[in-house]
Amino acid sequence: MIDLLLDILSWLLLVLGGVCVLIGGIGGLRLPNFYTRIHAASLTDTMGTILIFVGMMLQAGLSLAALKLFAIMLFLLLTGPTATYALANAALLSGLKPDAGIASDDPQENDPE
């Protein structure tokens, strides 16, 4: 009984994690400018990672594999948001202004003429 419940919970988490990754992917393609795109993509790094790894840890049970999965999750949770921050910071330093009024940072689409 408890096994079945754990199995259902783990699959629920895995599917939710997959949905988060999918949303991140769609957002990365569809959103108009750079900062909104990395905002969407960072969803993959955080929510996607947590949900998928907790789901996999429930599948692994109390074992060495669960510990390894936890270590990988910790690593990804540390590095993913840092990479997103570094990307945004580099964009800001190279002169890309986060401007809510501008729909797209593609110069051709933003041409005032």
Partner: protein
């Protein structure tokens, strides 16, 4: 299920390869090459070649990307526009592709136990490794002991490549150049990457040492460990500035590692000869031949790790020093 995943990965590989050829922005091409290596590593892992996958991920996706980016910083990130028709290129590629497709018709099925490659010397290695060397990872046994000459050759290739790159990049530009001071500061004003990097670098180096000394039991060995440790130190150089990294691991130490690693490997072979065996026949190193083999593999793997780590870091520093000159 795994078959579908493998086909998916191979399809992505083809798409990435086409994208690399088609893009004119070399920066994008370098990033795509990194993705290509990562996909390739996943493919190797599906084929149960964990040692090769680890190497591909550490060297292909990690270190070479950084070195390519250093090279781009020296040259430029746009492809040179090309004039004239390219029908010779296209026809050569087309003929080669047709030949390769034709050759695959004779290829045995994937994982076929009757394939010639599994009938040649592989059964002997699998059968004799527990008897002669007694370590679980047959790949390490083959690399280190049965085919020790080949690995010695590879280490000297790394050694020669490192010397070649240092010769080319070590040439000073004709004008008296001044080192830029602000370029070597790294990301000093970026607090978050620096804090996270400081947290991670010890673990990366520790993992490298684990891969180095666990190579007889799991996937890993000198090549992978050298690349992983080099990645950790390159990360340090990017975060804290190149000068600090050189203070931590000076250039002399790096060259000493390259030379010392290659020499250590050769010296083990010579010691084997002095103790009455053949060159690189580790059985004579200890009174128990099996322990002698294990000892020999441990020492030569350490030599390989030192040589690879030193070579990669020397090449990185050679590029970075070149960047500081204007």
């Amino acid at each position: 299920m795994i078959f579908i995943f493998a086909v998916f990965l191979l399809t992505l590989l083809v798409i990435t390869a086409i994208a690399i050829v088609r893009t004119e922005d070399l920066f994008v091409a370098v990033m795509l090459t990194s993705i290509f290596s990562l996909l390739m590593a996943a493919n190797f892992f599906i084929l149960d070649a964990a040692d090769v996958a680890l190497t591909e991920a550490a060297v292909g996706a990690g270190v070479t990307t950084v070195i390519f980016l250093c090279a781009l910083a020296l040259t430029g990130d746009r492809e040179k526009p090309r004039q004239g028709s390219r029908w010779i290129t296209f026809s050569t590629v087309g003929v080669l592709a047709l030949l390769i497709i034709y050759a695959t018709f004779d290829k045995p099925r994937l994982g076929d136990p009757d394939a010639p490659v599994h009938q040649h010397v592989a059964p002997w290695y699998l059968e004799k490794t527990p008897e002669y060397i007694d370590i679980p990872n047959v790949v390490t046994a083959i690399l280190g002991s049965f085919r020790g000459y080949d690995t010695l050759g590879e280490v000297f290739v790394v050694f020669a490549a490192c010397i070649g790159v240092l010769f080319i990049l070590g040439v000073r530009p004709p004008r008296k150049a001044v080192a830029l001071s602000d370029k070597s500061k790294g990301l000093r004003h970026h607090l978050i990457p620096q804090v996270v990097g400081r947290l991670l670098i010890p673990f990366i180096v520790l993992f490298g040492l684990y891969v180095q000394f666990h190579g007889e039991y799991g996937p890993g060995g000198g090549f992978q460990a050298g690349a992983i440790i080099a990645t950790g130190i390159i990360l340090y150089a990017l975060l804290e500035g190149e000068a600090n990294a050189l203070r931590a691991v000076p250039r002399k130490v790096l060259l000493g590692m390259v030379v010392g690693g290659a020499m250590l490997y050769g010296a083990v072979g010579v010691v084997c000869m002095l103790m009455g065996g053949a060159f690189l026949d580790y059985s004579v190193l200890a009174s128990d031949p099996v322990f002698g083999q294990q000892l020999g593999i441990l020492i030569i793997e350490a030599g390989v790790g030192m040589a690879v780590c030193g070579a990669l870091l020397s090449i990185f520093h050679a590029f970075a020093a070149r960047e500081g000159l204007s």
